[in-house]
């Protein structure tokens, strides 16, 4: 039997009521016992797995794995994606820290055919880039890096940005490349095949990674910016919530997969 010992995040409780102490029999398949790399808040995590848990039908489990694999294959040229982490293979949505993004600029951002506006955080003046001049993400990223980071003429640019903002696509820099699509949603550049990106992009933004609310952000900090307010008081067990319907102006949080 798996006991509290196998889930180090939980303080031993099972024997406190004086019930029979439980132990894993030596002849059982102890290999199945859970192992951890330093207790995580949730107890069971990462590569450690209990046989048959969580109780998801094997067919569904296999499908999840297969779907993640093929999505990783699709975005082979984006440089993103690590082994054994299906969530990296799935498309990521971005959200802003409560800032409202004005959607009044619904004028065709493309203007000149193929050109889209690009803005970078910290730089007041935007530029335009011709997407038709590029045939892949690397080329576009290189052009943007040249445009914003190498130029000594950029107003307001800080020297630090020259070193921090390189490698926009692989997630290693302080900045990340995002775009607004036809439907008004902000997406991470690199998730979809190039041609599909070109046909749906309206404008680009080079955003600070800290504002991108990507993976690993703890739920609590996100809740501070939550547009829902929710409280349950234990004493009266009443439910108070003020969920608000979001229009495309407000950006809500979606937790990374």
């Amino acid at each position: 039997i798996l006991t509290a010992k196998d889930f180090p995040s939980v303080v031993s409780h099972r024997t406190k009521n004086g019930g029979p102490s439980v132990s894993v029999s030596g002849t059982k398949r102890a290999a199945e016992s859970v192992s951890h790399e330093g207790g995580s808040p949730t107890g069971v995590s990462g590569s450690s797995q209990v046989v048959g848990w969580p109780p998801i039908r094997a067919y569904r489990m296999n499908s999840l794995v297969n779907q993640a694999k093929s999505q990783r294959a699709d975005e082979g040229d984006s440089g993103i994606g690590e082994k054994d982490k299906p969530k990296d293979g799935l498309k990521k949505k971005l959200n802003y820290n409560g800032n409202k993004i004005s959607s009044t600029t619904t004028v065709n951002e493309k203007g000149h055919l193929g050109f889209v506006k690009v803005n970078m955080d910290g730089i007041p003046i935007g530029r335009k880039v011709d997407l038709n001049a590029h045939s892949c993400y690397q080329s576009l990223a290189q052009a943007l890096e040249d445009m914003f980071l190498r130029s000594t003429n950029s107003v307001g640019a800080e020297k630090e940005q020259l070193t921090k903002a390189s490698k926009l696509l692989d997630g290693s820099s302080e900045f990340v490349l995002t775009y607004e699509d036809k439907e008004g949603d902000w997406m991470l550049v690199g998730d979809v095949p190039w041609r599909m990106f070109v046909s749906s992009v309206r404008r680009l933004r080079i955003m600070r990674t800290s504002e991108a609310n990507g993976l690993g952000i703890h739920k609590k900090s996100m809740a501070n910016h939550s547009c829902f307010s929710f409280s349950v008081s234990e004493s009266c067990y009443s439910f108070v919530a003020a969920p608000r319907f979001h229009d495309s102006n407000e950006r809500q949080r979606s937790k990374p997969i």
Binding site: I1, A4, F7, V10, H13, R14, N17, G19, P20, T27, K28, T42, V44, S45, G46, S47, S48, Q49, V51, G52, P54, P55, I56, R57, A58, Y59, R60, S63, L64, N66, Q67, A68, Q71, K87, L90, K91, K93, K182, E183, D185, R195, M196, S199, S200, L215, K219, S226, F230, V232, S233, E234, Y237, F239, A241, P243, F245, H246, S254, K255, I257
Partner: protein
Amino acid sequence: MNYFPDEVLEHVFDFITSHKDRNSVSLVCKSWYKIERYSRQRVFIGNCYSISPERLIARFPGLKSLTLKGKPHFADFNLVPHDWGGFVYPWIKALAKSRIGLEELRLKRMVVSDESLELLSKSFVNFKSLVLVSCEGFTTDGLAAIAANCRFLRELDLQENEVDDHRGHWLSCFPESCTSLISLNFACLRGEVNLGALERLVSRSPNLKSLRLNRAVPLDTLQKLLMRAPQLVDLGIGSYVHDPFSEVYNKLKIAIQRCKSIRSLSGFLEVAPHCMSAIYPICGNLTFLNLSYAPGLHGNKLMKLIQHCRKLQRLWILDCIGDKGLGVVALTCKELQELRVFPSDPFGAGNAAVTEEGLVLVSAGCPKLNSLLYFCQQMTNAALITVAKNCPNFIRFRLCILDPIKPDPVTNQPLDEGFGAIVQSCKGLKRLSLSGLLTDQVFLYIGMYAEQLEMLSIAFAADSDKGMLYVLNGCKKLRKLEIRDCPFGDAALLEDVGKYETMRSLWMSSCEVTLGGCKSVAEKMPSLNVEIIDECEQMEFNLDDKQKVDKMYLYRTLVGHRKDAPEYVSIL
């Protein structure tokens, strides 16, 4: 009623369709038993080892539709070895030899070989309907036989089966003369299909109401199929990846708009979420939406889609919808009865997206909610108590906290009170699955309040035998009990062995029961098969009665020990 001729009684019995009612009818008296058995056309067998095909055939000569279930439920989670049992072949062989005019066969968790499918396809002239759920053992060759030989086939429904896909031309095996299809579901097949054959098949099936495609069917084929079958009621989309500027996409928009009867939508096995707006025109009529295999659809796109689905009654979704998305569901789907939230990243490090908040929102916004399957990161007693108050109509309540013994994160207490509130409030509760940190107390509540409970699933819970005893003593209608990794031993197992005859089955794995305890049950109850599943074959070398048993599965049966058990299964 005694003065009526048999034909009149038979006519009256025709109106009684529920299995339970027909079973009751047959117990009234000998003459009713006789009339009922001759007029019975549909039989449901919840455990294929509880009866033999020969006895089935002898009792119900008019049988037309048979439903069989094989492996125990925990087989879904790889707790039962693949060759444990549940073979359908002996059933088909026996039926084929008899005069039974089988028309419908529905199987769940059974092993189905190509040979059985072939025999099935050749033995019953009027065979109309094959439904396979969570089965394995067959390939597309078996499907080819069904397609080729069942001249009047109406339904071929494959749900979540592991099929060895030989990429053969099974679809092409439907003859030109086959025009009777009403339902075709091959979403679970992983291989290519002959798209031309599929188009032709759909074209010549005017009665086709349900069509669920697999991932290999691209968008342009979908568009053509929809143009040919605007009468569809249930659609499963395979691949939904396309260029939004293309001609195909425009054609698809037109095709979808013609499909005014679609009430059920699923699939999106591969999706580029940019162009979900093509789907909006049919969303307003949907009563069932299954996006649980579409991880590519999340965030704003997903929420916009759901906002169009005001009439939804059943929603199956991935947890990337988030608590926020569930809030949207709560605001939009006022008719919602069933919600299933599956994990998109089951072994992730806690970044998954739903918590108790989402559930509370749905419970507040959807008063008709009666069926729940919810995989979440955490749960609180307060939330469960609120949910119990908001939704007293739960029939099915299955909660899975991904960390199986996680306490209430706010109070650090076990979740006994929360689940207690659920069973106390939901007087019609028939199915319950527990998770999280739980002591014996929750079982006291279950025994006290869950009067209608028929199925209970327990994992990593309780402190002592008392937990199991509370349940066995209290839940009078209990039919299926499945337990893993709980400290229940022989004392609980042996307290009331007669109870097991009133139930379909009991599963206990990684508990404290011993070989001696199991032997004792088998000895006292000859009407039960007590199976010990011992994959490591420890029992062979050590027959000590004090040895703890890894997996025990016991079930009532009228036909004694089964003969097809593999070596590592001992039937005591």
